[in-house]
Every structure is written in structure tokens, then in C-alpha cells.
């Protein structure tokens, strides 16, 4: 008996110290892929390693990172938010049209409105027990339509760009403010996931919802909050885009949906929920951005980009999906 206990204890300790091989792969792969891509690009074009061009790269990755960061929280819950890009487009239209009335308060107002939109999707998802991908697919078309109606299907110019200037400037003439916004978003969400009960609950729901329910967790509330966070970062991403284009447009961010999902899964967050982290999405967004830059550098037509995203998503999901949860994959 004592022997058996000792063996079990030892086994437990081993399991704790030596992470399973798959885990190592999932952890090391995104970082390695990122570094290899960076090195390859640097070899092809040494000028890329200069501080200025690296910062420009980071700047171009910022809206995507912000967009994917909030959506990561939903994925950690075991759901998915397909509406983020459409919501960011709507945010851009709303921001451009609200600036005359609200000026400086327009950005917070848009972020709040998008958080509410996200929360509504979350409520529909939990109240009517509809899969999140269906709700947010519906949401995607709904927000697109609202954006089209609100903008009259045309670009809405910013009458005055001062309320968003902070989001497209270079601090000290060097560091792009959008990069700091993106980093702050990721760090804030990561801290929320790491240090608060909410973070623990999100992961518990993602890993094992039945167990989370019977432990007495407020499942519905947690999910609604996750969708609200996703909506809020979509709004913020929309604002970052407005800041650099000086206008809002009903399809401004639509092409970011696939890259955002790609950033989440390429970073190693499992689409089945539970496994994953915000820093992974940061790395994933880096990979997606480097690939895009690399492709255009190599002279590949931008039309091929989507093929790449498709392959990336399928490949990354194949590696990271938690098959113990799916006896039947549909």
C-alpha cells in the first residue's frame, strides 16, 4: 500500500515536471516559427532588422493583435467569436459619425457600445443555448448590415482627427502608440486571466464545463463577460484602424477575421477551449504579420494570402485541438 502510494506520488511528480511531448511542441512551436520567419526575412532583406522597420512591422500588427486578444478569451471559454471583424468595421463607422458630437468621448463610447454588442451575443448564446459560432455568424452579418446602413454604404471621413491622434502617433518620434495600446490590451487581459477568479473560471469552463457547472460557477455570467471583452477589443481595434485611415468604412476590418482566428490558433490556443494564453495570441499575430510581409516581399499576389490563412488555421487546429474532449468530431 505504502509502496503503491509512493509510486503514485512519484508518477505525479514526474507528470508535473516533465510536460508531455505534445505540450512542449505546442509551447515551443509558435515562438520558434516566429523567430525562424523573422530570421528568414532578415536574411532576405537585412534592412528589416533595423529598429525603424521592426517598429513599423509591429505597428501594422497592432490592430490585428487587439482584435484577436479579446476573441482569445471567448476561445478559452470553449466558444468562438466570428463577429469580431464585422464589429470592428461597425466600430469604425460609429466612431467617425460620433466624433462630431462626442469628440474625445467618442472612442470610449464606441468601445462600450461594442462591449454591449458582444454581451448581447453572449446572452443569446447562453439564454437560448445556441452554439457560439452560429450566434456570432449571425452577429457578423447583422453588424455588417448595421454598418452599411449607418454609413450609407460609403466611407465616413473623420471631420476632425484629434480624438484619435493618440492612437496613430510615434512616442518620442519612435515608438508607435498603437503597439503600446496592443501590448497594454494583451497584458491587461492576460492579468485578468492569470490573477483573477474570472480567469480561473474561464479556463475551467473551457476545459470541463460540466465540472465547472457542478462546482457552482456562474457559467452564464462568465461567458457573457467573455463575449463582452471580445466586443470591447473589437471596438478598440476599430478605433486603431480609424486612427490610421482617418475615416470609418463599413467593411474596413472585415478582411481581419481570418487573420485574427489564425493568430489565436497559430499561437497554440486550443479551439476546444481551456488550453491557451494571451501571450500566444501576441506571438500568433506576429507570425501572421510576418507571413503577410514575407509574401508581399517575395512578390506573391495578395490574393494568395487567404489560402495561407486557411492552411494555417487547419494545420494549427490539428496540432492544438484537445481530442480527449471530442469523441466525435463534427
Amino acid at each position: 500500500m505504502a509502496d503503491a502510494a509512493r509510486v503514485a506520488g512519484l508518477r505525479g511528480r514526474l507528470a508535473a515536471r516533465v510536460p508531455e511531448r505534445r505540450h512542449v511542441v505546442v509551447t515551443a512551436m509558435p515562438v520558434t516559427a516566429f523567430l525562424v520567419l523573422l530570421a528568414a526575412l532578415a536574411v532576405a532583406s537585412p534592412a528589416l532588422l533595423e529598429t525603424g522597420s521592426l517598429l513599423t512591422l509591429a505597428d501594422s500588427a497592432a490592430p490585428l493583435t487587439v482584435l484577436a486578444a479579446g476573441a482569445t478569451v471567448v476561445v478559452l471559454c470553449g466558444g468562438i467569436d466570428l463577429s469580431v471583424a464585422a464589429l470592428a468595421s461597425l466600430a469604425s463607422v460609429l466612431l467617425a459619425s460620433w466624433v462630431p458630437a462626442l469628440s474625445g468621448a467618442a472612442v470610449p463610447a464606441v468601445v462600450a457600445a461594442c462591449a454591449v454588442a458582444g454581451a448581447v451575443q453572449g446572452l443569446v448564446h447562453v439564454a437560448f443555448r445556441i452554439p457560439s459560432f452560429v450566434v456570432t455568424l449571425g452577429g457578423m452579418t447583422l453588424w455588417s448590415a448595421v454598418a452599411l446602413l449607418a454609413s450609407g454604404a460609403a466611407t465616413v471621413p473623420m471631420p476632425d482627427s484629434t480624438p484619435t491622434d493618440w492612437a496613430f502617433t510615434r512616442l518620442g518620434g519612435l515608438v508607435p502608440s498603437a503597439v503600446l495600446v496592443a501590448l497594454a490590451t494583451v497584458v491587461a487581459l492576460a492579468a485578468l486571466m492569470r490573477f483573477t477568479p474570472l480567469g480561473r473560471w474561464v479556463r475551467a469552463i473551457g476545459h470541463a464545463e460540466p465540472a465547472a457547472r457542478l462546482a457552482g460557477l456562474p457559467i452564464a455570467r462568465v461567458k457573457v463577460i467573455a463575449f463582452a471583452l471580445s466586443g470591447a477589443t473589437a471596438g478598440l481595434a476599430g478605433a486603431l484602424l480609424v486612427a490610421r485611415t482617418f475615416s470609418g468604412a463599413p467593411t474596413l476590418a472585415d478582411s481581419l477575421l481570418l487573420p485574427a482566428v489564425a493568430a489565436i490558433v497559430v499561437g497554440g490556443t486550443a479551439i476546444t477551449g481551456g488550453h491557451g494564453a494571451l501571450w500566444r495570441t501576441l506571438v500568433g499575430a506576429g507570425i501572421v504579420t510576418l507571413l503577410r510581409v514575407g509574401l508581399s516581399y517575395a512578390g506573391v499576389d495578395a490574393a494568395y494570402e487567404s489560402i495561407l490563412y486557411g492552411v494555417l488555421i487547419v494545420g494549427a487546429v490539428a496540432l492544438t485541438i484537445d481530442r480527449s474532449k471530442l469523441s466525435i468530431v463534427k
Binding site: M1, G12, R13, A15, W201, A211, R213, L214, H275
Partner: protein, 488 residues
Amino acid sequence: MIEVSGLRKAYPGVVALDGVSLQIRPHEVVGLAGENGAGKSTLLKALVGLVRPDSGTIRIRGREVRLRGVAQAATEGIGMVFQEQSLVPNLTAAENILLGCEGSAVRLGLYRWRRLRELAQAQLDKIGSRVDPMARTETLSFAERQMVEIAKVLAIEERTRAQPVVLLDEPTSVLEAEEIETLFGQIERLRKHASVVFVSHRLDEVLQVSDRVYVLRGGQVAGEVDPATAGAAGLHRMMIGAEATGSHYHDDLHRPPERSSVRLSVRGLCGEGFTDISFDLIRGEVVAVAGVHGSGREELCRALFGARAVTAGQVLIDGEAVSLTGPRRAVRAGLGYVPSERKVEGVVSAMSVADNMTLPYTRPQDVEEWIGRLRIKTPDRRTPIGSLSGGNQQKVVLARWLLTGSLRVLLLDHPTRGLDVGAKSEVYRLIRELAAAGVAVLLLADSLEECIALSDRVLVMKEGRVTVTLDTPPGAKPDPVDVVKEMV
């Protein structure tokens, strides 16, 4: 026919099969007995290729085989009737019987219905079943569907031209008494065509139908028994090992409950699966609910925790009405629930011991203290709970409800399922200590013995109602047979 030797299968934290060797001979009915977690199911699954053993061999008719799935096992002549049935409900019985081996019943990709019917009828005739082969499976009773399953397994015979081996996993657990008699008749008929492996929790049944009985304990063959000479009591002793039951259940820690103060009061509770349930639990009392599968006791237990809808009735804790709208409300009211499906509903296996223990709470808790107090064997608090043994996982689930000190009523749904003897005894000790501290415990026991030994009272449920209440104080325990009489 089949010779198994040195079969071993380990899962993280538990060894399911630990060097099992046994033989199944032609025209023989072999019984398998053992407690939950003794390795019966794993052994059966290894024999139909659903589990791949880590080491050891399976020889079929003298030839060593490596089974990779049910289909391959079928070509070797082994078929299993699953506990949870494996028929497709919207197909006819005939289609189900021949599913995957339609043979001449399909030509050019189309069913030849008359031929299909004939072939299926031939299988049903073997066991003398009067089930209509053209009936849709979902319209059949459970017992009829079981006959269809057996016929389906026998269809293997046509393909291998060898005598099949039929594995019956708990075939009687949801059958009525007369259906069980019919099944036993079928097993006698089967013997002419096949060898049978029969697994049941009910020892008298195992002894009645089997020519030989293997007793499994802790993943090993504890012994082989001749039903002609052995009784159920001897078999049971062999199953649980030489444990002195009094100390096993920690009778010394038992305190008489405080008669005067009611902790939990259930008034006319109705819901799907149970009707008009009323009872009281007093402080420090352990009340077990006994009942067969379908008696509604699991449903009742979940409903009390707010995890199932209630249509009428009221629940009071210490005189205050509890809202049964969800587990979170129940937890707030001082209820704790230990679900029977530990891996799915009890723990979040990818998360740490500490996270699992403190899951429902927003404030930090003293995890280390409870790891020590419950003697949870874990390298540290950050270890993923999935790498712990079942008993230690269960202690973490229990600790979850203990650590705030606000627990008033504990609902235990098969708390010792799949645990080894030592771990069981530790869970019993915990239950005793909790009761002594004034917690009222409602227990759905894993075995009848546990149900009687641990409880102060037993509520017997039948068809969704509490039919009898038996007092079971220490020193005046009823005979298990009397409890069974009330259950069926």
C-alpha cells in the same frame, strides 16, 4: 477458445489490469465478478479491441492476436453486448442485426429487404426470440433490444464459421425479474452455439448462470470459484479482500445524530424521474438512498443541488427555503455535491490541485492546509489534478466543499466509484468526521454493503418514490437481502 495471459493496462494514476490471466473454453459460461474498478470492463474492452493492453497476450483458438477494434474482434469471432446499448434507434431490428455485415442482403448497393429479413430472422431464431425483424428498434423494449443485440453478436458466426464468444457486460442491470429469467434461458441456448462471458454486479446471478467464476480485485485475478460449492458471501469476501468491515467503515468515529435539529427538509419535491419526495435530514446524520437503476435517486440528488429542474415542492436548509434554480444558488445555501462521474463532472483534469479545490470561490483559500488535513498525496498544489490517483482526486473534490466551513448538507453520488480499497476507507473516514461535525450527508452508495454500513437511515426509492425508510444504526444493521427486497 480464448486464452488471456499476463494482460496489463495502466491509465494515468491507476492500473486497471495488472497481469490478468484466464481461459474461456468452448460451450462454457464464464462469470466475471469484482467491485467497481476491479478491471472487469477494461478486460472486456481488451477482448473486443477497444482497449489496447500495455503488455500480455490474447490467444484465440491457439493463435496470438492483436485486436484493433470491434470489427477485427468480430472477424475473430468475439462480440460484445454493451451495457449501454449500441443499436441505431431509427433502423429496423433486421438492419441493426446485419449492420456492417449485410452480405447477400445487399446487391448493387441496395438493400434486398426480403433477404435481409430472412437473414435477420435466422439470427433471431437461434435465440428463439419473437422480436419482429422489421420493427423499428426505438419502438422495442429494453429487453427486446437486448435480444436484438445478442442476435447481432451471433451474426458473427456466419462470417467466421467458428464458434463465437459472446461478452455480456452487465446485461441484467436494467431488466425486470422475469426478463432476467428469459435472458438466462437465452444464455443456456447460447451455450450450444457459443461461449459466453457474463458480467454482473449481482453475485447470485453470476453464480446461477456460470460454469466457472473468475473474481477480479484491483486489476488482478483474485481467484477462480466453482459456483456449485461457493456461495455469494464467499464470493463477496474474495471481491473486497480480507477487510474487517467495522474498521473499514470507521465505525468508531460514528456519533449519534442530534435528534432535535433538522438540517435539510425536503417537502413534496417533484421532477422528471421522481414524484412527491418528502424527508428530513438532521444534523450529523448520514442517510443513504437505495434503489435500482431508474428508481430516480440520481435525478433526486441532482435536483437537490439545482442541477435538474424541479416541477413542484420545496427544500429548506436550517428552516430557510432554498432556491433550486442552479448549482450556484445551492452552493451559496451551504450544499455541496460530489458527482459520480468524477472525470467529467467532478474535476477539471487539466487544472491544478489548488485551482480545482478553490474553483467556486473568489477569495484565496488555504489549500496547503487541506492537502495536509485530508492527506492528499500530491507533489504540490500546482500539480495537474489529472495526474493524481482517483482517491486523491476525490479528496480534492471533497475539500472544495469543506474549506470554507460553510457546508451544511453534502450530497454524495457514488463517492467511492472506481477507488481502491484503501482510498475508499479514507473517504469513509471523511464522511464520518463530517457527520460528527454536524453536516447532514445524503449518500448514493456504490454498493449495498456501503449503503448499509455507512448510514444511520436508508431511504428506499422505487419508481421515483420513497417507498420505505429503514433505520440502520450501528449494531443493528439490517440484512442486505431485506433491503434488496424493498428495492425490487
